[in-house]
Subunit: 331 residues, 2 copies
């Protein structure tokens, strides 16, 4: 049974739980709001559904609720920060905020963050940048969950990459992992008894397949674009580990409940320093319109669907599974 | 018949042709060297084989051999340049060189270049950055040559993206277009009578296919990762057009011989300002080794094969088709 709960009620409920786990109140509020907004935007796998895992990782010591990020090194427009194993979404939010500040001063800003935790929905920090009027690019490494092209054992992460362009008529925000389908998506297709729309990985015999169960069995999801996404995943890991001085995928614990010590990169490009907001909006709109015009109604721009879902969930309340809501309220 | 011609002889032959078309000698030398090095590295489609097209575009007025890039705007670590329709590889080389300079000063540097021409092999500027010891990221937009996901008509470019990480034991350099296979690759498989190793696009009936001829007939190559590469192509175009103030894909002439006025972005991240070269090499090596270890001999890192080809072509001479070599020498 799916309930509909107003955003504010969801956020305050989660915040109260976080305060009881030891968060300072203003940090609890932000952390809770980011979870609630993720569900608001329809990214259910990384919103409320993910909250119990955060609590489990606080309990097992992977996440230190009181740790705040600390700057280790600065050179001009680039900075290296230590996340000190604090809550991943708070660390990431602070890092993108700092990258935006740096871009105000230098035109471009880069924060490399080591020693952090899962940032939950990566798109959050794209929306953060776009809402501030800057172009945002960020990515994270992850535990090894994807076989590189040519191998059957996981050795790269799916390393989500977010690219955000501000646009008054609707930000354009790409939020994509390097695997064609996440394990969450595979499970979802399987529960509905559906095949994937395109090949999503290999079966146990090494054949490409659209059967989600076969991919879960083989643990061989496919990188986007085969060898290309495999290479891109590796590059993102290298840059994150090099710039941050933190761990690379091969050093991150493979137990998802201990997936800590991640490395992330946050870039902000300050368009406002280059041209008027009107010129930017005109250019962005013309590009979006030209792409959508290639097949009106069928082609979407990245982020388009989120605004539709967001409006619906704000009007009706956030959809929350009844059992999950009871569990969260009892914490 | 394939000849083997020493690199220097190839470069000086091309340079002499360029001088006769009006290039200043030092610019002719660099332009010619970049073409020769592309063939040296095995990227034959964008080396000497591409040179006649440059000459055609000089003759039809798309490329101005004497134009040098001009800085229009600077704010801190980010600059906007006008390529003035000069030779694409010289403009791109100058832009990455400037991004590297900016990164020496600011830790990170960004050059956005408008109004330029085809940069030939994008990987060139990745090697340029890595040879200078910095992380390089660059991309270009192109004419519309790829249907976005959900459409059958081209409305995004295949917008090659290059990511380069310096490593003393062999730079790690990804050079990838947003289409799963270029038209050049499709032709090459077709000439050999081979099917593609994976689906590369749609046939005229709208079914995914590995038949390169069917994709050439439909003009519907596949973006990497389906909707993901389609979205990524759009983001790269948006950022390039917005930062440079130049043209977006929908504004670029669709005749390949008139594909001019491109927008490009060059980013340099100066690792040297953050940690020692030894620390960087250790981290980079460990990542490369961890990925290759997932299936030794079968998994490659991006750029690995280039070093093998480069060594062979330097030892034996560059492979050049006899007819092409006769044509180039007669120019």
């Amino acid at each position: 049974m799916m309930l509909r709960v107003p955003l504010d009620e969801v956020a305050s409920t989660l915040a109260a739980v976080l305060v009881r786990t030891g968060f300072e109140p203003h940090r609890a509020d932000l952390c809770a709001r980011l979870f609630a907004e993720t569900t608001r935007d329809g990214v259910y796998s990384h919103g409320l559904e993910r909250f119990p895992r955060l609590l489990a990782m606080i309990r097992n010591g992977s996440v230190d609720v009181q740790a705040t990020p600390q700057r280790l090194h600065q050179f001009g427009a680039i900075e290296r920060w230590d996340g000190r194993r604090g809550p991943g979404n708070l660390n990431a939010w602070a890092s993108m905020a700092r990258a935006i500040e740096l871009s105000n001063q230098h035109g471009i800003g880069c924060v490399a963050l080591a020693n952090t935790n899962h940032w939950m929905r990566g798109g959050t920090y794209g929306w953060q940048a776009a809402d501030a009027g800057v172009i945002g690019i960020c990515w994270t490494n992850t535990l090894a969950n994807l076989p590189p092209w040519g191998a059957s054992l996981p050795a790269v992460g799916n390393n989500p990459l977010i690219i955000a362009v501000p646009r008054p008529a609707g930000h354009v925000i790409l939020d994509m992992a390097m695997s064609q389908f996440s394990y969450g998506a595979l499970t979802s297709y399987q529960q509905k008894g559906q095949l994937l729309p395109v090949d999503g990985g290999f079966d146990l015999s090494g054949n490409l397949t659209r059967d989600p169960a076969a991919i879960e069995a083989s643990q061989r999801p496919l990188p986007i674009g085969y060898w290309k996404g495999s290479g891109l995943a590796m590059m993102l890991d290298m840059i994150a580990a090099l710039l941050s001085g933190g761990l690379a995928t091969h050093q991150i614990p493979t137990d998802p409940l201990r997936e800590s010590g991640l490395s992330q990169v946050f870039l902000a490009l300050n368009l406002v320093r280059l041209q008027s907001a009107e010129d930017s909006a005109r250019t962005a709109n013309a590009i979006v319109e030209s792409v959508l015009a290639s097949n009106p109604g069928a082609v979407r721009y990245p982020g388009e669907q989120i605004l539709v879902t967001r409006a619906e969930n704000l009007a009706l309340g956030l959809p929350v599974r009844e059992e999950l809501w009871a569990e969260l309220r009892a914490l």
